[in-house]
Symmetry: C2
Subunit: 437 residues, 2 copies
Amino acid sequence: MPRIRVGLIGFGTVGAGMVEVLINNRELIGDRVGAEIVLKRIADLDIDSDRGVEIDPTFLTTDAMEIVNDPEIDVVVELMGGCDQAMEYILAAMERGKHVVTANKALIAKHGRLLFETAERYGVDIAFEASVAGGIPIIKALREGLAANQIKAVLAILNGTSNYVLTRMTQEGLSFHEALSTAKRFGYAEVDPTLDIDGSDAAHKLTIIVSLAFGLPCKYEDVYKEGIDTVSPEDIRFAGEFGYCLKLLAIAREVGGHIEARVHPAFVPLDHILANVNEAYNAVYIEGDFVGPTLFYGLGAGRRPAGSAVVSDLMDIARNQIKGITRRVSPLSFARLPAKGLSLKPMDQLITAYYFRFSALDRPGVLSKISGVLGANNISIASVIQKGRAGHGSVPVVMLTHEAREKDVRKSLLLLDKLDVVTERTILFRVEKRTGS
Amino acid sequence: MPRIRVGLIGFGTVGAGMVEVLINNRELIGDRVGAEIVLKRIADLDIDSDRGVEIDPTFLTTDAMEIVNDPEIDVVVELMGGCDQAMEYILAAMERGKHVVTANKALIAKHGRLLFETAERYGVDIAFEASVAGGIPIIKALREGLAANQIKAVLAILNGTSNYVLTRMTQEGLSFHEALSTAKRFGYAEVDPTLDIDGSDAAHKLTIIVSLAFGLPCKYEDVYKEGIDTVSPEDIRFAGEFGYCLKLLAIAREVGGHIEARVHPAFVPLDHILANVNEAYNAVYIEGDFVGPTLFYGLGAGRRPAGSAVVSDLMDIARNQIKGITRRVSPLSFARLPAKGLSLKPMDQLITAYYFRFSALDRPGVLSKISGVLGANNISIASVIQKGRAGHGSVPVVMLTHEAREKDVRKSLLLLDKLDVVTERTILFRVEKRTGS
């Protein structure tokens, strides 16, 4: 049986998961692919800790360049994370004719172009299924399974930590900080969860999705991003009253030749299949022009799901190697980028529905003042909830709007927040309109 | 740009969908694959009807063998349905070195082995993504995306007609026959919906899934099958009271080296992601040993989704052809079948939880009589609902059991239905136990 020899750089959580898959499912992998995938060497600064997998100690090295330079290694798997060092090893490996598998979403999002050009120059494969939505084979779906479709929209829950926190806030009424503590306690949030909570992690993944779905090389910096730290249990309750839940969504949508690319908390209709994606699960909802709506759901992180994705990439490369080919599918999903390219839509041109929560003095005429300013800025109100007196003079006035332009919304809120009847900064969330399941 | 030339046999609903994709997304397909997929000829007995796609009339023929014999055609797409004729054309095409794409689930389920052996003998590709779950790229997911996993279980909603009927019964309280009429009226059921309603269609698809997931060549005849015509709104209401809904599930599960393969209406916990799959949608829930639980959701039938799947197969074959290879991935998903093979579990050995609805006389001691017989046959009751008098002497007694053996259940019901206090044949449904979403 042919053998594909693998070197691993980075023996952390995902690295250990990959090794575990290769050991546990060695026979299955051989049966499916018709080749043996052999782990030959592992580099990590820490070569002493027990990762819960049995490894011949002579496999271990602290010098990643030993792997990069090993002529017997066919594929380098980069799972160390970070950008500069990882980039250096990957480029060096490709220059030496080695294929690369990585789970490094930040690296692909920020330096994808250079990585893909280098892979092309040296005629090697670069695969990164584990970088988006963990174990869910979403990159394969976009590149191959749904390849016949013009993708119209992608709505995705891509950050398990945020989804876990929002689930706790929704189901138990916890505050953001209480829910985040719970997430940390149960291992769903890192000690420093900033990149998960502020939308950066989801934005990295969305950057990759935009490139694959639309053939639009997208820069991470161009993806609009808001985190979930502004979400309160109060807004989640109001969302429920309007028939919605609150999710951190990564949205990529084509509207008239322009692509929206944005990550922010959003109202999702309760009868939308995404509304049922709870706990630390990820899900990617894709609308294609022929396939219609689809959903891909599963665990977006963790040792075992990520290990599954990394090994499926290795099996793909092994299948190429058996046939003596490389680069069967373009890493960017397009063999050539579309001639009439799409462009990113600036955020202030976004048109969507909105939720506002005003803190207003409980006086006659307040609602008329607020709706007057909105109306003057082309924002029309779809529904309003005004609850009784809160006791301290201020009451929440919440409303859903019809479709409006982000620019007009921003301008209106600036004006409204200056009114003497508005006592606190107005809370804003964007609303994904009601759709059939 | 390289060209892949395609001949189509069967210009019905799916055929027209495929043609529409090839016309509408010609540029996109070229951009993604780097090859042109050219439709060269279409065979159908009816070459006059308008299919809503623009076709050069000289492309049309009533003689399918013209396509099979055309040396310029690289791929034959069989979308005529039926078994004998379709088989003949496909075998003849493969003998002439042509690749084959088909959506014919019955053919694959019944004659897969001969088809795959023939494809191997002549070194051609055979692809059938559209045969299971329509537009959802589930075959690619099982063969490639999740290939690193031992599949533990597949729970799937594979028949859109049945799911639509059950949705109407659940949401509007319609009877089976009323819901089926509605389905026909809105185009979700054929004039003769027998194969959809009696579970045959789902069983065909499950046969294919079992082969791909477990490397177990499975015969259609060996898949246990029950339809939805025994489902009543009453049982759906009771399911709701217990925290479940009723779905037609196709289940393949590995338990201790044996594979369950069964299609029947089943209780699904309301917090399971499958419980939210409504209307005519399909969904495939897959548990892998590393990836954990995943769900793939979308439209399982119809011109456009099926067209998407057929063309994604064509693009796969085109990608092989560009690289000068064939048979990169085994059609059966295993390059060699597993050495220690699994075997199908006989239905009477199934162990699962059950729902019973007894029609019993409203007399003291009835419940004790029923539970006595169950207990004597190793069936223990988990919960019971006994409603008040129905007026005509008989009342429903419904219960959920703990796990029990199908054989014991069958035996008990035979005994119980002979009791004079049991007035009608007892209704039985199997229960998928509560799981975290």
